[in-house]
């Protein structure tokens, strides 16, 4: 996904509207040392799709910017968004509304 002259307005994370320029700037301003740190200060990949759309682009940037082994997130539940209303019936409890 490398481009010759990256456009700073390019949206990397759609859900949270994080541009390439915002990532570059946050990395500098906060002296960020890893992908997870950058994620937490910009919210990139923390939107409703949980990074499914932006994950690959972010990984490519992180690989360029940070030493290996400092990467991000293991997947977190749920696999995809669900209404809170279905949670009470998860296993291990009898739902009571």
């Amino acid at each position: 996904m490398t481009t010759k002259s990256p456009d700073q307005d390019l949206i990397i994370c759609r859900c949270e509207r994080v541009t390439l320029g915002a990532l570059v700037e946050a990395r500098r301003a906060f002296d960020v040392s890893s992908g997870r740190e950058l994620k937490l200060v910009t919210r990139a990949s923390m939107g409703i799709c949980q990074g499914r759309v932006c994950h690959a682009a972010l990984e490519a940037l992180y690989a360029r910017w940070f030493p290996p082994g400092r990467d991000v997130a293991r997947p977190r539940p749920p696999a995809r968004p669900v209404p809170f209303g279905v949670l009470p019936s998860l296993k291990g409890d009898d739902a009571d509304g």
């Binding site: 809170f84 291990g92 009571d96």
Partner: protein
């Protein structure tokens, strides 16, 4: 006037960050280490509540109020960290809680907190999304909220601007020489000397002090949070249930046994990014931070009991963190008798975000031999560790 005291701070969570900030600002020469990311421990797996409403009158309350004052100052002095002080609510589950809630209000007002009781009419007027059968609540005007990770980073950023050295991804061990802690060793064998070494390593503090035969009674108390998608919020106020106080102090509540077992009580926190966080749970289950289904389910049930309209909101993520618990719910802050060169600043359980400011300031006062911002006596590590 302080000459340049060299201080090493171990742990770049919110406590180490505030400690580094206040020390460096006061003229000390600080090096801050973390074995991993800045704020990568409990401080990035937390709510951002800065509460006085849930503190007991007396020293507990004094600490919270002093920290709220210092924080208001930091909000002016540092870059933005989503700080706001809208107050907070405690809501009641049943009429049985009316009397305990009224007496809590009385005792807190007598102590000087800006807190008031809200009857059925008043609570529903202020929180229209609440379930109809909620019989009342409490409101505390001084309570604040912030983004814990940004707050941590702003403190560290300001310390760095003033000359502090910040070294993430560098695990260290304490170096003991002639009966005193003389600094730290890094994994790669580098030796770093300091006049004082402050251990602010949260739940991992006992691992650092263990080789000195110093037993620190901090245990990880897991807490799980659920994140709701951006969308219509269920009110912009921060709301907890009165029973949260009971869960926090380990007292009996009148809820089904499984809620007690996992210490589940409602905490609803709308965030600056327009989504919301739901908590919370309290469990002793080691260092596992995987969110578990029964606990997520109980948290959701508790939330739906108070906010039925939440059934249609989208749940997008869950995560858990480890609160650094201590037997008397107070942190260990200050020098360790019998081990010169060492200070502790750890064990803030569910209040580390709120108490970071007063803790950092107190450590700086103690290191630099200034008049302490609060009485350090009740926080003396010596109450647990033997001399």
């Amino acid at each position: 006037m302080s000459a340049s005291v060299r201080v090493i701070v171990v742990g770049a969570g919110v406590i180490g960050a505030a400690t580094a900030y206040y020390l460096q600002t006061a003229g000390a020469e600080v090096t801050l280490f973390d074995r991993a990311d800045v704020g990568g421990g409990t401080s990035s797996r937390s709510d951002g509540n800065v509460l006085a409403i849930d503190k007991e009158p007396g020293y507990d309350g004094v600490l919270a109020l002093r920290s709220q004052e210092l924080l208001a100052q930091l909000a002016d002095d540092l870059g933005p960290f989503e700080y706001r002080a809208p107050g907070s609510y405690l809501v009641l589950d049943s009429e049985d809680e009316l009397d305990p809630a009224r007496s809590w209000v009385e005792q807190e007002r007598a102590f000087g907190l800006p807190i008031r009781f809200l009857d059925r009419r008043a609570i529903h007027a202020e929180l229209p999304d609440l379930a109809d059968d909620v019989p009342g609540g409490l409101y505390c005007a001084s309570d604040a909220t912030l983004n814990p990770l940004l707050y941590t980073r702003r403190l560290i950023g300001a310390a760095r601007e003033r000359g502090a050295r910040v070294r993430p991804h560098t695990p260290v061990t304490l170096k003991l020489e002639d009966g005193r802690v003389s600094g730290v060793d890094t994994l790669s064998g580098e030796r770093c000397e300091a006049d004082v070494t402050v251990v602010a390593a949260g739940v991992w503090t006992p691992v650092l002090t263990h080789p000195l035969s110093l037993l620190v009674p901090i245990r990880p108390r897991k807490g799980t949070l659920l994140v709701g998608a951006r969308g219509p919020l269920h009110g912009t106020a921060k709301v907890m249930e009165f029973g949260y106080l009971m869960a926090k102090f380990g007292r009996t509540r009148s809820v089904p046994e499984e809620f007690e077992r996992y210490g589940v009580a409602l905490v609803y926190e709308p965030t600056a990014s327009q989504n919301f966080l739901l908590g919370s749970s309290r469990e002793f289950v080691g260092e596992d931070v995987t969110p578990k289904e029964p606990v997520m389910s109980l948290i959701a049930r508790r939330a739906l009991r108070f906010y039925p309209g939440m059934a249609h909101s989208l749940f997008i993520r869950a995560y858990a963190g480890l609160r650094p618990w201590t037997p008397d719910h107070f942190p260990l802050v200050g020098p360790v008798k019998g081990v010169p060169g060492l200070m502790l600043a750890a064990g803030h359980e569910g209040d580390g975000i709120g108490l970071a400011a007063v803790t950092g300031r107190l450590v700086a006062d103690l290191v630099l031999h200034r008049a302490p911002v609060v009485d350090p006596g009740p926080l003396d590590p010596g109450r647990f560790t033997s001399a």
